[in-house]
């Protein structure tokens, strides 16, 4: 088959150009380090790489949200730790004040320190993080968590917990109301308190006090009832204690008064309370009612400060204050410690998530790299091959173009 001279040259030039293009493409790949510069280089790999990138970006953002939560939890946990320490100090002071040897003189100093501790606790409750958000404001929009009005500390946030994005719902705030202001009153089941009989003059000072009581038989406890312990009799013939239940209900409580022995347990309806001291019949009475989740740390401290700071109180009154105070402190401290440990295991959970997500990111990045990155060794060898073949095409052209019959016809 004959070949026209023009087409011969055209073909050689064409071949050279194609080899050159191929060399250039290979060079571009080497320079960029990527096998896939545009989707048409390898559509399925490009799509995989894109999906891997999207996963990586998503995990990165989730990691940041996680970190925000972790930082928050660290701060909140540490704040609660400090709060518990302060409460321990309060407890010591209360115990100290209950010491009979302390006397009236030392109590004002104790009351003053209690006031200081109360302010410190309020500061902790209103602690902010680095961006100005209040740790304990719950779902509050940005205002402070607690405000100290004339009538005690109130919660200014919004009950509830703000969570970060993601299915794990890691916390970004603590429900301050629940932690600081909703501890269970009394011993958790019922609350005992001194309540003078109606009509008793304000100047009357009791000489009897009641302890926190305990549950003897949970099945018999009737948590919807309020009990009143009133007293009859006198010092000479002996005191009796009468228990009334309101509402009466069935089976009826034994209405007969029982003998009152100071320090002896009085049992009824599955609970046992102990009254000590000398009651004043017709004046002194004690109330037993269901425990409510309405005990506030600050109210407890305020009450302690007021009562311990008041001069001229009877031993019984002081004992009652100390009794009630310790009981309430234990309950409120319990709430703080519970939240603290809750944050603790949440932080563990977050650590686990963090390491899983870090692995996930690594996997996504590896997948992306595998899809679109160039195998350098293969590429360099390929490039050298193309260089050689380009060189060969050039040489071939140089050799062939000299071959012509005209060279030999002289």
């Amino acid at each position: 088959m004959r070949i026209s001279t023009a087409s011969q040259f055209d073909r050689s030039v064409d071949l050279i150009q194609r080899r050159q293009q191929s060399l250039q493409a290979s060079h571009d790949q080497l320079v960029s380090g990527k096998r896939i510069v545009k989707a048409s280089d390898d559509p399925t790999s490009a799509a995989s790489a894109e999906r891997a990138l999207a996963r990586d970006a998503r995990l990165e953002v989730q990691e940041r949200a996680l970190e925000t939560s972790q930082q928050f939890m660290l701060q909140a946990e540490s704040a609660l730790g400090s709060a518990v320490d302060l409460m321990q100090r309060v407890r010591e002071l209360v115990v100290q004040s209950g010491n009979a040897a302390a006397g009236d003189a030392s109590r004002p100093a104790i009351a003053a320190e209690l006031k200081g501790l109360r302010q410190q606790l309020l500061d902790i409750a209103n602690q902010q993080d680095s961006s100005g958000a209040f740790l304990f404001a719950g779902l509050g929009g940005g205002g402070e968590a607690f405000s100290d009005g004339g009538s005690g500390v109130t919660f200014s946030g919004r009950a509830g917990t703000m969570t970060a994005a993601g299915s794990e719902a890691l916390p970004l705030s603590v429900d301050g109301k629940k932690v600081w202001m909703e501890s269970r009153s009394g011993n958790g089941v019922f609350k005992t308190s001194y309540e003078a009989v109606a009509g008793t003059p304000a100047t009357h000072q009791p000489h009897a006090w009641i302890d926190s009581g305990r549950v003897t038989d949970p099945s018999l406890v009737q948590s919807d009832k309020t009990y009143t312990l009133s007293f009859l009799g006198d010092a000479a013939s002996g005191f009796q204690v009468q228990i009334t239940r309101d509402p009466a209900g069935t089976p009826a409580l034994d209405p007969n008064p029982r003998a009152y022995v100071p320090g002896q347990a009085i049992e009824f309806d599955g609970i046992a309370v102990t009254v000590s001291g000398v009651p004043a019949p017709g004046r002194d009475a004690f109330k037993v009612e269901a425990s409510q989740p309405d005990l506030s740390v600050f109210d407890v401290l305020d009450r302690l400060t007021t009562e311990l700071g008041a001069p001229g109180r009877t031993g019984a009154q002081v004992a009652q204050t100390v009794q009630d105070g310790l009981r309430d402190l234990d309950s409120t401290m319990g709430s703080l410690m519970t939240m603290r440990s809750n944050l603790g295991w949440r932080m563990e959970q977050a650590d686990g998530l963090s390491s899983r997500w870090a692995d996930g990111r690594l996997a996504a990045q590896s997948e992306r790299s595998a899809a679109e990155d160039l195998d350098m060794v293969e590429a360099i060898s390929g490039y050298q091959n193309k260089q050689t073949s380009y060189d060969a095409a050039l040489k071939a052209y140089a050799m062939v173009q000299r071959l012509s019959l005209f060279e030999y016809i002289r």
């Binding site: 070949i3 545009k38 989707a39 995989s48 894109e50 999906r51 999207a54 970006a57 703000m162 970060a164």
Partner: protein, 550 residues
Amino acid sequence: MSAFSLLSIGSRAMTANYVALQTTGNNIANANVEGYSRQRVELATAPSQSTGQGRLGLGVDVKSISRSHDQFLAREASSARSTAEMDKTAMSSLSKLEELFQPGEAGLGHAAGQFLNAMTGLASRPTDLVVRQAALAKAQEVSMRFSGAARRMDAMQADVKSGLDEAVKQVNSLAQGLGLVNQKILSFSSAQGAPNDLLDERDRLLSRISEKLQIRPVTAANETVSVFVSDGRPLVLGTDVRQLTVISDPLDANRSALALMEGSQARLIDSESLVGGEIAGLLKFQNLDLVHARNLMGQMAAGLVSAVNQQQRKGLDLKGQPGQDIFFDFHQPGTGALPMVRSAATNKDQGPDVKPEVKIDDVSKLQAAEYALFWDEAGAQWTLQSSSGGSAVPVGDAQTQLGFSVAVPPTLDTDSRFLIQPVTYAAGFMRRVLGQGEGLAAASASEPNGNALAMAELAEKSILGSATLSDVYASAIADMGTRTQAAMTTSEISTAVADQAELRRSSADGVNLDEEAARLIQSQQAYQASAKVLQVAQSIFDTLLQAAAV
């Protein structure tokens, strides 16, 4: 015995060989001229004379100077080149289009993902103005990438139009040239035949025209050529030349179409009937690939805008007010809304009120397609045919199957045709309309970050069909990439075929310099020999004269 006959033999031989030399020289001179067919001298023995000694040859005559031309190979090469040009044009346009669907950090999908991911950060710090502003900045970035891509597609459309204009101009001037050549060919008598160089010129013009547009040439007995466009209409009929022109597509005025001027009227040439040439490549790219790319992008834009705006409206902003749209809602009827209905230019004008109305019902069901709306005689109902194929959908089913509904006025002329484009141009309408960070509706009624939590879920929710936005984008990349890859392969193959066909043609018709060099020597020797014959004849004559002298 005659000395004259020897003289005439010699001189005729010299002439003949001189003509052969000239022809060879002409071939050598024109070796590199495009489309030149080598010429051959056809020598024939002169009729012999009867003499007493037997029949005596009277030398050689030049019968003709013929042009080596294989019509079949030439047509095949021309047609293959036409296909190759079409594929090459389509491929290079697609390569540019593919750049809009970039994988990686510079791509649309990443920007959209970054914006949706910013909602996670907003959920962590819902009242932080810096975080809000950063989220809005990402919203701006994604709308700019979409609208930027839409503008580039508009630029590509403009390139198609100007490419078509240029190609049509060239075809028209080539057609004019062909008409003139036909005229010149006619002026030569049929006995002598047309000159070879005119025939070469004619074939060259045909080949160049077919590079731009596949044509069917028909050669008449008088060697003139008529050229027909693929749907059978004539472009050149002998000396009568028509013009091609570029008009707006009757259905979508943004697109171009080819038309043939018949008199003063431009009659549309159906783009689907064009099967080769640069013009066909441009039209194929415009009508298939560019439309598809617009639809892909528009679908994503619509999905993103709808999902984000809807969620935004469910929440409360920093001032406690219900959230306003973050992105412009182009599907909401009103000023500046996306136009979704185009009337064919051939429709009867029934006034501005009598036209179909389109309402978007469920963005997640929208397809990446546009639809032709026409009256189906067989089913006696208005029907929608999707640009991405599939069976026709009656208008009544559009809401459940396609995500939008079409209200057709009962008086609408059944000959009318419309183009329904729910998403085609949507990407260009994407813009951020929420300017202030406080406007982000992060809060729900109960939690300061409640709505932000829901917005953070959007990245993993099915926004379009059953796919998340990043999945949709990854598929779009693969789609365009596969198209481009296929176009590259097709182009490689058709270029190789065209090169092969050209090689075969030029091997039959082209000049081989070595061959011409050999013939040069051959003719030169023959010429020298003939000259020698003349010399011998002359010396014989001299001898005769001397012998006869007294």
